[in-house]
């Protein structure tokens, strides 16, 4: 998000929070979310892709809801469908209004092209709604579709071939295809929300909800591009909670306004002052090839570490602040992770909602499976397998590259070591533990090791290939 986009979102969120009554806020939010999703989508060299990607995202959301809900309030549902379709059509019709065209990054396709997509899409939804509501097989199919899109978007070679196919469909030169053509903003987070909803719905953890509520959850614009990944039941609770402490007949409570403003100011400062300033000196693939000094290599690595933290947590603060303006309290995503004294605590405080997602859908099921399996796995092996699988997947979530996988491995190894060390320490006590000051020193050493282990991990994360990461690690430890 740019500063201009954030400013406009602040105004819109504030106006929504202040003047739109609860009774119609759900539908109003649908319109806002759709407009924001179109607006945030960056331009693509493939014709109309910046229009179609958000449309596909919206379609997946609607489809996921219909697949998961057997009974529904038909009137409310179809009003919601009408608002969604109407907003999409309105966005596309902007192509005819030159002075205000367009909310999308490029001119949207013609209404005929949209109808060619819309008619089968609505037919599929009607068919599912009437014939297969709650059908598990279809749920699995949509599950696989989302995961497949995710893998395609995160893997350069697949994105490249997808770009070729899309270029041929739009009659463009295939030789110009590039993995960068398919930049689908926010899809990672959307996919996680959809997968969470589909999975928890199967296990009966999702309370009854309406399409507008789910739609606003999946595409809630403050959290659309950079999280946090809220759990649906919590979001629903926030959405449905009554507004208290109204002031001057405004719907926003002074408390929400105050807290929201503080978070936004914090977020803007972190992102646009601290992170963007540190970006000048932060490690990247260009300067990694040029550094020639151990001392300065550490400096730019630390700069990267703080830059990524301020950047990401700044965006989270802004998202939380915007949410507060509209009466929705989004979850925290960061809690001073660099001050933690072991890696497990770090991962409880870094990108908290992502870590929780992986814990809920990868780590816990895997450990449960291994514990209940016929073969009696030793505890250390269960921990090892679960931590390595989870962390490698977290790494690959950022992009299917060797370096992201190594970054995941790096943290998995650290977590596994910490787990074993903690177990060992529980059964071993030393006389010097009771000496005054030793505990403080041990805490400091633990922090120092954890922080620098995390910082060194960024060498894999920030750079594109193991060769250059290896070179930087060499320089960091004195190699010329």
């Amino acid at each position: 998000m740019t500063l201009l986009q954030i400013c406009i979102f602040i105004i819109i969120s504030l106006l929504t929070g202040a003047f739109i009554p609860k009774s119609i806020r759900g539908w109003f939010l649908i319109i806002l979310n759709i407009l924001a999703v179109f607006w945030l989508q960056p331009v693509s060299p493939i014709r109309h892709l910046d229009f179609w990607l958000p449309v596909v995202g919206i379609f997946l959301v609607v489809l996921a809801w219909f697949l998961s809900n057997q009974s529904c309030n038909h009137r409310q549902t179809w009003i919601t469908i009408g608002i969604i379709s109407g907003t999409i059509v309105a966005v596309s019709l902007l192509r005819y209004l030159d002075p205000i065209c367009c909310i999308t990054a490029s001119r949207p396709p013609s209404i005929i092209q949209i109808l060619i997509f819309a008619i089968p899409a609505i037919l599929i939804i009607c068919l599912i709604n009437h014939q297969f509501p709650g059908n598990k097989r279809f749920t699995v199919i949509i599950f696989l579709v989302i995961v497949s899109i995710f893998i395609i978007l995160k893997t350069d070679i697949f994105t490249y071939y997808s770009s070729k196919i899309l270029r041929s469909l739009s009659g463009q030169d295939q030789s110009l295809a590039s993995p960068l053509d398919l930049g689908w903003i926010g899809f990672s987070y959307l996919a996680f929300r959809l997968l969470h909803y589909l999975r928890d719905n199967q296990t009966g953890k999702i309370p009854a909800n309406s399409l507008d509520e789910f739609f606003n959850y999946a595409l809630f614009f403050p959290a659309y591009s950079a999280g946090p990944i809220e759990r649906f039941p919590n979001f629903l609770k926030e959405l449905r909670k009554p507004i208290e402490n109204r002031c001057m007949r405004l719907w926003i409570s002074p408390h929400d306004f105050y807290q929201g403003s503080i978070r936004i100011v914090n977020g803007v400062f972190k992102k646009f002052v601290l992170a963007d300033t540190l970006a000048i000196i932060a490690l990247n693939s260009q300067n990694a090839a040029q550094i020639n000094s151990t001392f300065w290599a550490w400096v730019i690595l630390y700069a990267y570490s703080f830059r990524i933290y301020f950047d990401f947590s700044g965006y989270t603060d802004i998202a939380i602040g915007l949410g507060r303006y509209m009466g929705v309290q989004l979850p925290e995503n960061f809690a001073s992770p660099y001050l933690k004294t072991n890696l497990a605590m770090f991962w409880n405080c870094w990108h908290i909602t992502l870590a929780q997602w992986f814990r809920a859908y990868i780590f816990n099921p895997l450990t449960r499976f291994m514990r209940t399996a016929k073969f009696n796995f030793p505890a250390w092996l269960i921990i090892l397998s679960a931590q390595f699988s989870t962390m490698i997947l977290i790494g690959l979530w950022h992009g299917v590259t060797l370096n992201f996988a190594i970054w995941g491995l790096w943290h998995a190894a650290g977590l596994f070591f910490h787990n074993r060390w903690s177990d060992w320490r529980k059964s071993h006590h030393f006389y010097w533990e009771n000496i005054q000051g030793v505990n403080k020193m041990l805490t400091f050493i633990s922090w120092l090791i954890t922080f620098n282990y995390t910082v060194l991990g960024w060498v894999w994360f920030a750079l594109p290939n193991p060769q250059i990461s290896g070179k930087i690690l060499g320089i960091l430890f004195g190699a010329k």
Binding site: M248, P254, N292, A297
Partner: protein, 381 residues
């Protein structure tokens, strides 16, 4: 909006209206104080260069900061304080030479170690009285004698023992004098310099926009402040990499085939008159230098052998204009007893990089040798 917020946790009351009014008052007071005291020169004095990171080998200039770890800024104090010349008091045993000039002196497409100043310094020469010769690069990539004069004037605070001023005809026309952004953003200092030396260029000073009151507030100066901060940050990358310029692997060679164009700026043949060139700025340079020896070097240029090379020497110069310029310069030098070295055709065409005045590393070595052959460093006397 007299909204009162009562925190449930701390039971403290915050009047939003008061917060807004106080913030606005502080904002206006701060801007007013900034306008009144103009702390920018003071800010320019604060520098991590020569303290936390090494001073730069040349003045900051860079159009792609993220690649060159260098940027264009116009705050002269910050620029000079980032240079290694501002690093320490001049040692007793140092014979300090400063080079001023355009992009060829600054070292376009050359690494910091390949510039003329670095090549001369690397020769580890000494004067007859045993002082170590250290050459500082104070070139700046714009062609304008007024710009050179501004830098010369500033650099006098660093106590040079000798000044070498590399010039070329393109720096002389009057219409070139005040166009560099460096001058436009330092109007008061330029105006003072022109008035002090009674230069004709003063008549063009109206072209330089005088900063409004708004421009002088904190908000108006935000770009300059940001540039000073960025210069400091890029200092870290300069220290980490030793890079201050993005040098492409490939670039276009100087134009060989030239247009059949006789014009030079708005002048046409037959003869270039002394009034067409800002020759008096050279005199101002001598006045500024005072007793310090100043050597004027007419820098080498690329001489084309392609189509229309009988009309033009290169992209910049038609033959008639350049020939006349050399004669005018020679006359001035003789009449004023200036030390002038004319090296206009002394470098092989193959030793030019991308323009008619930019030299390759090999060309720079050749130029350094030519200069050393003609300059004697007699010592402090």
């Amino acid at each position: 909006m007299a909204v009162t917020y009562s925190s449930s946790q701390k039971d403290q009351k915050v009047s939003l209206m008061r917060v807004v009014i106080k913030a606005l008052c502080l904002f206006f007071i701060f801007n007013f104080l900034f306008l009144f005291f103009d702390p920018l020169p003071l800010l320019g004095q604060v520098s991590i260069y020569n303290h936390l990171v090494p001073g730069r080998e040349r003045l900051p200039y860079g159009e792609q900061p993220e690649k060159s770890f260098n940027l264009n800024l116009y705050q002269l104090d910050a620029m000079f304080n980032s240079h290694k010349i501002a690093g320490k008091e001049k040692p007793e045993n140092e014979f300090r030479i400063i080079l001023i000039g355009d992009s060829s002196t600054w070292g376009f497409l050359l690494s910091p170690q390949e510039t003329l100043a670095s090549v001369l310094s690397a020769k580890n020469l000494s004067t007859l009285d045993g002082k170590q010769i250290v050459v500082y690069n104070l070139g700046y990539p714009v062609m304008s004698l007024t710009k050179d004069l501004l830098i010369l004037d500033r650099s006098m605070q660093y106590h040079p023992d000798m000044i070498i001023w590399l010039i070329t005809l393109e720096s002389f026309p009057y219409d070139k004098q005040l166009f560099p952004p460096l001058l436009q953003n330092n109007r008061e200092e330029v105006q003072h310099l022109l008035q002090k030396n009674q230069l004709k260029v003063i008549s063009q000073i109206k072209e330089l926009k005088s900063p409004s009151l708004w421009d002088r507030t904190f908000i108006g100066q935000r770009r300059n402040i940001a540039d000073i901060i960025r210069l400091q940050l890029y200092g870290i990358m300069w220290a980490a990499t030793g890079i201050d310029q993005d040098i492409p692997n490939q670039f276009d060679r100087p134009m060989e085939d030239l247009p059949a164009d006789q014009s030079f700026h708005d002048l046409m043949p037959s003869h270039l008159a002394a009034e067409d060139l800002a020759l008096e700025i050279l005199q101002a340079g001598y006045t500024t230098a005072g007793n310090i020896p100043l050597i004027i070097v007419n820098e080498p240029m690329y001489i084309s052998r392609g189509e229309n090379s009988d009309i033009r020497y290169n992209y910049y110069y038609p033959r008639w204009a350049y020939d006349d310029y050399r004669q005018l310069l020679s006359k001035q030098c003789t009449a004023n007893h200036w030390t002038c070295i004319d090296l206009w055709n002394s470098i092989e065409p193959g030793n030019f990089s991308n323009t008619a005045v930019h030299l390759t590393p090999k060309g720079i070595i050749q130029l350094a040798d030519l200069l050393l052959n003609q300059i004697s460093f007699g010592g402090s006397d």
